[in-house]
């Protein structure tokens, strides 16, 4: 089947870059030229014809096809083996509960956090250890970038156009991590959210920037988790009081103390759900007294329930650090987890 996209000719790699930058088709960084061969390699890997409909964007009714996702995936520097992750992430983002238009247009300036689970992490070399939230490896770097380029080019989520972010954050270039399943006795994030461990899965969350914590001075689970809860209370005070999906990332050093004490992810989430809450009157201490009104005694938890906390095992082996990743804006967007390769109506590509 022919590709439907318009073809442009450029005489050099430099001309390709200028073509894409001049048209506003990039994130400001150079792109890999999306040639027909490269795009077809992605589609073949996923066994999808170019016009395979991945979904309809819910607000403006935009048809998202495999061909367009593949073009942007190539541009991001992905290999064909990364493409199924991009497809699954986008399928998840188009679920109503994710509220993709609102989350990507908002002045709040969140990014789409993508978390990988299951065997595909090992197949594509996605690392959940050193520098997990930074430039840890090729797979997570390029997959996260592909998500953003697709938003830019398929939904006009360009700064000042659909993207009205006041500040944004660096995760808007790429925000993808793999869970360190090999070095953890816990259930995986996807398992906690109903996916079998043997399946590969993608979780997406409309997420603020990570807030790093440190506590190297205790081995007690309650004290370690109190530091995470305190950072969430800070977010409730300084950013938004609305409850929703928070994520916490627990690297190996702190994880080992929790696992030695037989604390499961569920135990962690239940403890933090009890501790991560503030009184509305606390807003008066941080310059927001005007909105306390007569509700100062009201209690505001960070999550409506413990299962709204996404507990992720990732990070390098040394250092008593952790991270809290807050939601864009409470329950307006919900995290979505989908298994990879769950397509039920795919056809082999027609040559």
């Amino acid at each position: 089947m022919q590709l439907a996209s318009k073809i442009y000719q450029a005489e050099s790699i430099g001309d390709v870059q200028e073509l894409y930058h001049a048209n506003g088709w990039t994130d400001g960084l150079p792109i890999v030229p999306p040639t027909e061969d490269a795009v077809r390699a992605c589609l073949d890997w996923a066994m999808m014809p170019p016009d395979q409909l991945i979904g309809i964007e819910p607000v403006r009714g935009l048809a998202i096809t495999a061909e367009k996702l593949a073009i942007n995936t190539v541009m991001a520097g992905c290999l064909p083996m990364h493409f199924p992750v991009v497809i699954t992430a986008w399928t998840a983002m188009m679920q109503d509960e994710f509220l993709m238009h609102g989350a990507t247009a908002s002045t709040g300036g969140c990014a789409v956090l993508v978390v990988l689970n299951g065997p595909i992490r090992l197949e594509i070399g996605a690392s959940g250890t050193f520098n997990a939230l930074g430039n840890s490896d090729r797979a997570t770097a390029t997959i996260g970038r592909a998500i953003r380029l697709c938003l830019i080019n398929l939904m006009d989520v360009r700064p000042g156009v659909i993207d009205r972010s006041t500040l944004g954050h660096p995760g808007k270039f790429s925000y993808c991590i793999a869970e360190d399943e090999e070095d953890s006795s816990w259930k995986t994030l996807a398992e906690q959210r109903g996916i079998e461990r043997a399946a590969s899965a993608v979780t997406v969350m409309a997420a603020g920037a990570p807030r790093q914590i440190m506590n190297e001075w205790t081995t007690r689970p309650e004290e370690i988790l109190e530091t995470f809860a305190a950072e969430m209370r800070a977010n409730l005070r300084h950013y938004s009081i609305h409850p929703g999906n928070y994520a916490i990332v627990i690297p190996k050093q702190l994880r080992e103390h929790l696992q030695a004490a037989n604390w499961s992810k569920t135990d962690i989430a239940e403890f933090i759900h009890q501790r991560a809450r503030i009184h509305r009157r606390e807003w008066a201490e941080v310059g927001k007294g005007a909105v306390v009104r007569d509700r100062g005694d009201s209690v505001y938890p960070a999550m409506d329930s413990a299962d709204q906390l996404l507990v992720i095992a990732a990070g390098g082996p040394a250092g008593g650090f952790g991270a809290v990743i807050p939601p864009w804006l409470g329950n307006k967007s919900h995290a979505v987890t989908l298994p990879i390769g769950a397509c039920v109506d795919c056809e082999p590509p027609k040559k």
């Binding site: 318009k6 998202i64 002045t107």
Partner: protein
Amino acid sequence: MTFRVLDPTAGEPPATGQRAPRLDTLQGKTVGLISNGKEGTKSFFAHLETMLREEYGVANVVSRTKSNYSAPADPHIVAEIGQWDAVISGIGD
């Protein structure tokens, strides 16, 4: 070396409808205001309502607020629009 590269954009979104005919006058009309509900909209729309009534002779102003300022207007609000002569939708922060 010549590169043949592909357009990464989705193209034009599907048409979502046509604009209603423009009104000749606002005199005696019913105008709906759809707010996203943020703090900054309150005084803005209150002043706009005063202007519409006092300066333009609008007969009725119907004010509605979305339940979620980050999502499209609620279906019951969209259903009401057909009863109005004009609608003003705005966001505020």
